[in-house]
């Protein structure tokens, strides 16, 4: 998501500007103007808040009989989103850690090829190592360095996959739990099992 002003974001999510400004002030304690810029994170956070509030609002309203199914679905979505946000909050440190590992490795790899390698080549030249001999050492150095940093990247990726696995599993459990609750509620509302 690109950086947007409050005004642009309000248009995007179809909310009146004055309402949007009020929301920002009440939820973030920041006073914003129509031209205040919103980062990716801020936009995502506001979207989640709107979604949760709309779903909560909807669940409070008296819903006509025909819309009961839609309401149930929205409630399920609300539960799922709520749980997902809780998960993100709970694993905030893990997510930050996994991202920083990947970032460090990317930075190290780029520094090696843009700076360190040049320094090594210059050192070999200054020491007057024969060109052919030097290029053989450099070839081995690059191959060894690459193999080692590739292994590091694999380890970091494995960690990300493990964290995502926990996420998925917990989200899945929550959905099946919510579905069961939903069936339970529906059965009491509509008397599904009354005739059985």
């Amino acid at each position: 998501m690109a950086v947007r002003t409050v005004k642009e974001f309000a248009i995007l999510v179809n909310i009146r500007l004055d309402e949007m400004l009020q929301h920002i002030q009440s939820k973030t304690n920041n006073v914003a103007s129509p031209d205040t810029k919103l980062s990716d994170d801020e936009q995502n956070r506001l979207l989640h808040i709107f979604l949760l509030e709309s779903a909560a609002e909807l669940s409070k309203q008296q819903v006509p009989e025909g819309l009961l199914e839609t309401k149930a679905k929205l409630e399920l979505l609300y539960q799922y989103e709520k749980h997902y946000l809780e998960l993100i909050k709970e694993y905030k440190e893990e997510i930050k850690f996994a991202a920083s590992l990947q970032e460090d490795l990317r930075r190290e790899r780029s520094q090696f090829f843009t700076q360190t390698l040049r320094e090594v080549v210059q050192t070999l030249q200054v020491q007057e190592i024969d060109k052919k001999v030097a290029s053989q050492w450099i070839e081995d150095l690059v191959a060894s360095y690459t193999k080692s940093i590739d292994l590091s990247s694999d380890l970091a990726k494995t960690h990300v996959v493990q964290v995502l696995g926990i996420f998925k599993e917990e989200a899945k459990q929550e959905v099946s739990k919510a579905k069961l609750d939903d069936i339970g509620n529906a059965s009491t509302t509509h008397g599904f099992f009354k005739n059985s």
Binding site: E119, T123, D140, S144, Y145, K147, S148
Partner: protein
Amino acid sequence: MQTKKEIFATLQVLKQGRAEMVQDFLDHKPDIYAPSFKYEDSPALLNLAREKYFMTWLISHWQLFSHEATFFTDKQKETEAIFATVFLQLLGKWAIIKTDHAGQLNLGIQLIQDMQNTLNEFIKVGDNSDAMRKKFEVEIEKNRVLFEREIKKLSEMEL
């Protein structure tokens, strides 16, 4: 699942290994620079010297891992098993061993040490054959001069 601390420690060891390798080049480590001059005209021996350097570098990772593992006093054994797996994966990248089962750690270390010893022996044989060749050259030169002296002596006697 590996904990955050273990993942971090493992990645730190690998990073340290890479940093030390680069530093060896920048600090003119004799293991790199001496054979570069000594075997400038002996490509086969230079290859062996390069292999030997990188084998030594590879095995240095296990020393770094072992040192790091001592900080995990509460679950040192589990940490060592994780490091062993990663170390074997590293060796696997050089096709030294094809398993990353921690139980095969000793085999991995033994293999790499054997490779180091073999490389040392090859280099020694190469160095000896070089010394032997020089000895032969001196002998040939000596015989040639002695032979010429004899010829000269004989021709003077005839005159």
